[in-house]
């Protein structure tokens, strides 16, 4: 579980990018951060990842505040985090298998055979077929995302962060990737936080949704409550998609 308490973040100027966010991301759930471009989603995710130090406030990872940990413990905590980047961020000089084994190589004392065995377990879990020895440039965008997910979970992380995990993918593959992330979250009891502005993802896997607007937490709920949100910003965001606009019009027409 990750608890965020009165998180503020600025970059030296008068204006804060995050203006006091408090929320909780539960274990074993897919938690989504949504909001328009410039709402502070990426800064929020980077604060959660420990890449940005909060200006004020605290982030507690299962009760431990990152900023209060010793550098050694910060490193240990960081090893418990997995990250799926928007562009997959695979190391292009390494094969698929080497990419997945990389965190094990860096942080464990496992021998190569053990690392390979574990890598093949996760490769099987994310349904990657016949790709072990291929380079990232030789596989499709969807497969690259699977490799990125495999690399993120190979170390059995407690926290999984995903930045726009299905951007650039066709709708079918995007849904498959969303579902894969949700299955993994439930199966391994991970606290998963996904940064997205894709309404399909929201409707597919939004077990908890945090809506950011201009650095504030404007609304929080789930995919079941987002259509009834009593917040104009949320409503505008949800119905900015043509598809959802048409669905709404159809519902109003029917009723």
């Amino acid at each position: 579980m990750i608890e965020v308490k009165e998180l503020k973040k600025g970059f030296g100027g008068d204006e804060l990018v995050l203006k006091g966010i408090s929320t909780t991301f539960e274990k074993g759930k897919t938690n989504l951060i949504i909001g328009q471009s410039g709402s502070g989603k990426t800064v929020f995710l980077k604060c959660l990842l420990g890449l940005f130090r909060p200006t004020e406030g605290k982030i507690l990872y299962d009760g431990q505040a990152y900023s209060e940990l010793s550098p050694e413990n910060q490193r240990t905590l960081r090893e418990q985090m997995g990250m799926v980047f928007q562009g997959s961020a695979l190391f292009d000089s390494m094969s698929v298998e080497e990419n997945i084994m990389f965190p094990l190589k860096m942080f464990t004392k496992q021998r190569k055979a053990e690392r390979r065995e574990r890598a093949n377990e996760v490769i099987k879990r994310v349904n990657l077929i016949n790709a072990n020895n291929k380079l990232p440039s030789e596989i499709s965008g969807g497969m690259q995302k699977r490799v990125a997910i495999a690399r993120a979970i190979v170390n059995n992380p407690k926290y999984l962060f995903c930045d726009e995990p299905n951007s650039g993918l066709d709708p079918r593959t995007a849904t498959l990737i969303d579902n894969l992330i949700q299955e993994i979250t439930h199966e391994y009891e991970i606290t998963t936080i996904i940064n997205t502005h894709d309404m399909n993802s929201v409707m597919e896997i939004g077990e908890k949704i945090v809506f950011l607007q201009k650095g504030h937490l404007a609304w929080e709920g789930s995919k079941d409550t987002i259509f009834r949100a009593d917040n104009d910003d949320v409503t505008n965001f949800v119905y900015s998609s043509d598809l959802f606009k048409k669905v709404r019009e159809a519902v109003i027409k029917d009723s």
């Binding site: 910060q74 090893e79 961020a89 292009d92 860096m106 942080f107």
Partner: protein, 245 residues
């Protein structure tokens, strides 16, 4: 102010390279890979250029010796001095700023653009140590490249002088041995060592701190070449002033 900021950032980068080291077994493999990419991979072009430029130096010297009083051994002497003192260490380093420097900037820059550096940081890896330190260690072998360039430059000069009929082999070798000051070799290798550090770190700086997309990677490579060359020339002047004057 902008330049001061850049210099400060460069110094901070150098500090970052040496803290929180990567696992030794991983680092060893990275260093071997960099030696292959940066040193072994450059030998071909260095050998080719050294041999032919050495030849040209010898021919130019011979063709400019109109006075019959001047001994033919001067061709060997002039070739040795130009190749050891300037051509091999400085001229080859400028070429390497284009070849190795652009490679370093574009490879690190591409990793920045495609979030691979962020991926390393998120995993808790010191990306500066992981990416730049192996390059610095690999470039410590750069003096070997320059030694080869010196040898081949002189060999090219000898070949051109003898085959072109400008001097006999004995005359050329006599010139090579005349007034030889061993400290000049020490001077050449001291500056080679400094150039090696510049060649590893300046392009890394431009790649690591670049912002933008693919177009900016290209721009960063060009900028890195320009600044690496500028610092090689400036440090060449300073070292020469300090050690030889």
């Amino acid at each position: 102010m902008g330049y001061l900021r850049e210099i400060g950032l460069y110094i901070m980068m150098l500090k970052g390279v040496f803290i929180k080291p990567t696992k030794t077994s991983v680092l060893r493999n990275l260093i071997l890979k960099e030696i292959d990419d940066l040193i072994i991979g450059s030998l071909g072009i260095v050998c080719f250029i050294s041999f032919f430029v050495g030849g040209v130096v010898a021919i130019q010297t011979a063709l400019n010796m109109d006075n019959p009083i001047l001994p033919k051994s001067l061709i060997g002497f002039a070739s040795r001095q130009s190749i050891i003192l300037e051509f091999a260490p400085t001229f080859i380093s400028i070429i390497m700023a284009g070849k190795v420097g652009s490679f370093i900037t574009s490879s690190i820059g591409t990793m920045r653009v495609t979030e691979q550096i962020d991926a390393l940081e998120v995993m808790g890896i010191n990306s500066l140590n992981y990416l730049v330190f192996p390059k610095i260690v690999a470039m410590l072998f750069y003096p070997f490249v320059i030694a080869i360039a010196m040898f081949l430059g002189i060999l090219g000069g000898y070949t051109a002088a003898v085959l072109g009929g400008f001097a006999t082999g004995d005359q050329f070798i006599q010139g090579l041995q005349e007034d030889f000051v061993p400290f000049q070799l020490v001077y050449a290798f001291i500056k080679t060592f400094v150039f090696a550090l510049l060649l590893a770190t300046i392009p890394s700086y431009f790649g690591y701190y670049m912002k933008g997309g693919a177009l900016e990677v290209g721009k960063a490579s060009t900028t890195s070449f320009v600044w690496t060359s500028v610092f090689i020339i400036l440090s060449n002047y300073l070292i020469t002033q300090l050690l030889l004057s």
